[in-house]
């Protein structure tokens, strides 16, 4: 019998099946948004494809009712585990009034929502990193034991805000997880033109906390290193930098054409390691997934995405005049 790797890291059968469900849901929402974009129904898509394993694996190591997220624009898998629904995502894609992230004010991928413990985010990259540090500082001052998770791409790890935030967290030993989703490209610029060091994780040395590099296509491994980091943080031992290495399977956004900067062969090669395929294979191998259960799960996800799409498409837009509201609170 094949070893159940997930049991060795403390995950139950039900949990890994749940993980797969969230990965699949993220993928199917994402794919639907591309279709809607190409059909001219939504103006913009920014994708999570290829990064679902890392996002979901990381999210499972956190406590969704206690910990906080300062995510970045690709983190669909992460925010789904924290309670956002397919409907929420579609409302955001269609820029409808009910969009919980921003009431249709922001582009999709700008996640936020107090009820989900997700801080509102913006488009200039990496600005969320110091915010995560500030939230962790607030938690420490108020004797709370929550952990703050912030994510960003490898390109963003060059930003001053990454360095300034990580250094601050290091000095003050704050419970922050710096989670780099290294998908090998910052829009068109490959890793070798972004970093001179071997791995983003190496950068942790400069901040006085551990840096770990992990296979981002493997949600179990990501969960394992995340769990260690979360436990450390909760014990008051400070921050961790985790680099999850994966591949962005689609162009940067719906407005990008990745054919000009990477070969089809390279993308096809990466697709063989598509985390959904690899993880499904593992679940089949250990007997947790068979044709029937897989078909059931797919049907359930498709239904969710269909219903969400229909609901969001028919939902009302914000009123034009609401453009003027919520500049100040008083």
């Amino acid at each position: 019998m094949t070893t159940k790797r997930h049991e060795q890291v403390g995950l139950t059968d039900a949990q890994v099946l749940d993980m797969y469900y969230y990965m699949l849901l993220a993928r199917k929402i994402d794919e639907r948004q591309w279709l809607l974009n190409r059909a001219g129904k939504v103006p913009f898509v920014i994708s999570c494809q290829g990064q679902e394993a890392a996002q979901v694996g990381a999210a499972f190591a956190l406590e969704t009712d206690k910990d906080f997220l300062c995510p970045y624009y690709r983190d669909l898998g992460l925010v789904l585990v924290f309670g956002q629904t397919a409907r929420d995502c579609m409302l955001s894609a269609f820029a409808k009034a009910e969009d919980p992230n921003s009431g249709g004010r922001q582009m999709p991928g700008h996640f936020g929502g107090k009820k989900y413990n997700i801080l509102t985010g913006s488009s200039p990259v990496t600005t969320q990193v110091p915010h995560a540090v500030g939230m962790a500082l607030a938690g420490k001052m108020q004797n709370k034991d929550f952990v703050v998770y912030t994510s960003f791409g490898e390109g963003s790890s060059n930003q001053g805000d990454f360095h300034e935030g990580a250094n601050f967290a290091g000095v003050h030993k704050l419970p922050v997880i710096f989670f780099c989703e290294n998908n090998k490209y910052a829009i068109s610029v490959p890793l070798k033109k972004q970093l001179a060091c071997e791995s983003v994780a190496d950068r942790a040395l400069g901040y006085g906390f551990p840096g770990v590099s992990v296979d981002g296509n493997d949600p179990i491994e990501v969960y394992r290193v995340m769990k260690e980091a979360v436990d450390r943080a909760r014990r008051g031992e400070g921050a961790t930098l985790i680099e999850a290495v994966m591949y962005r399977l689609v162009p940067h956004s719906s407005d990008d054409d990745d054919r000009v900067y990477r070969t089809r062969e390279e993308v096809e090669e990466a697709k063989k390691k598509d985390p959904l395929i690899v993880f499904a294979a593992y679940l089949r191998e250990i007997g947790l997934l068979d044709e029937n259960t897989e078909a059931d799960m797919l049907a359930r996800v498709q239904l969710e995405v269909d219903e969400a799409t229909e609901y969001a498409e028919n939902a009302p837009y914000p009123t034009p005049e609401s453009t003027l509201t919520h500049v100040y609170g008083n």
Binding site: T127, G134, L137, A138, Q142, D161, Y328, G329, N330
Partner: protein, 327 residues
């Protein structure tokens, strides 16, 4: 009522707010044992400890960005930028983040952060310790920009800033710190952000100013009174959003408007004040709107004659006021 300096009023406001609300804390460079390079946080670490008076790493974007995160969670941070000149690395955090958090989240999140920054020259600070950078922040809806001129206003407005549900950029003219003294009640009071204040009643000309320059205007008005010319002096106090009603009212009162600020003229706050006057009460005017400002050069030079040339003073203001009165 005790007469205290501008900087002591700032310290008093922070101390009172920290005693009142355990969520108020200070973060910045040298704010702890040093008590700030200007001594604005003097003694606060002794009373509140290093957990609430935090010496941060030397990194302005983190000072503001960490403040934003803490504020969003529910704290009331006061972030100190050592000199307004050094605020530039934090502009992205102020403009893209703090100012937009409420709007972009459709009122779900907000950012009750106060950012204090000493600005202005006349202290031999040269290019990078003398700048007036307020105009860079006075077209950012979501942000409030305050620049008091008196100790009384400084205390009341800083307390209001700390209690405000939105981010407030609080500029303190560093030359005012020890030069300007005034009566300040020891009891708790707040002054409304967004309201200008008539600092001197007059009938012949209207002078609109803020910060250190406001005091030059008051001194010049005193001299001008001896010549039989009565000047009405309005202190803007809040630079964004501007108190449009008070500006229009003050302008209409005399029909002659002089706007005075140390910041350079083109693109400065005075341009917006002039536009408000033109929009709301052009036909009440008896003379073209006049502006007396710092010269349009990159910043204030170090060499004393150059610094003196750049800086406003009561004589320069007096001359401009007299000229306008005689129009």
């Amino acid at each position: 009522m005790a007469v205290i300096s501008f900087i002591d009023a700032i310290t008093m406001a922070m101390r009172e707010e920290m005693r009142r609300d355990p969520n108020v804390f200070i973060l910045g460079e040298d704010v702890g044992v040093r008590g700030g390079v200007f001594r604005a946080t003097n003694g606060l670490i002794d009373e509140f400890g290093e957990e609430r008076v935090i010496d941060t790493p030397l990194a302005e974007s983190a000072i503001v960005g960490v403040g934003i995160g803490a504020a969003a969670y529910g704290m009331r941070p006061i972030a100190e930028i050592q000199f307004a000149d050094f605020i530039m690395p934090a502009v992205n955090q102020i403009v893209s983040e703090a100012a937009k958090m409420r709007y972009r989240s459709n009122n779900d999140w907000n950012c009750p952060l106060t950012i204090r920054a000493p600005f202005g020259g006349g202290v031999h600070g040269a290019l990078y310790h003398s700048q007036s950078v307020e105009a860079m922040f006075t077209n950012i809806p979501g942000l409030k920009v305050v620049a008091p001129s008196t100790p009384y206003d400084a205390k009341g407005l800083l307390k209001a800033a700390i209690r405000d549900e939105d981010p407030v950029l609080f500029f303190e003219h560093k030359r005012c710190y020890r030069l300007i003294k005034g009566e300040v009640p020891e009891h708790d009071y707040v002054l409304p952000i967004g309201k200008a204040d008539v600092k001197r009643e007059g009938t012949d000309i209207t002078v609109i100013s803020y910060g250190l320059a406001l005091h030059f205007c008051l001194q010049a008005a005193e001299k001008l009174a001896q010549e039989g010319i009565s000047a009405h002096v309005l202190d803007l106090r809040t630079l964004y959003p501007l108190d449009k009603e008070a500006i229009a009212e003050a302008a209409s009162k005399t029909g002659k408007v002089l706007i005075v600020h140390e910041d350079n003229k083109e693109g400065g706050v005075g341009g917006e004040v002039a536009a408000i006057v033109a929009e709301h009460c052009l036909f009440d005017l008896d003379a073209p709107i006049k502006r007396l400002c710092g010269p349009d050069v990159p910043a204030m030079p170090y060499s004393p004659p150059m610094e003196k040339f750049f800086m406003l003073n009561p004589d320069k203001v007096l001359e401009a006021m007299r000229e306008l009165a005689n129009f």
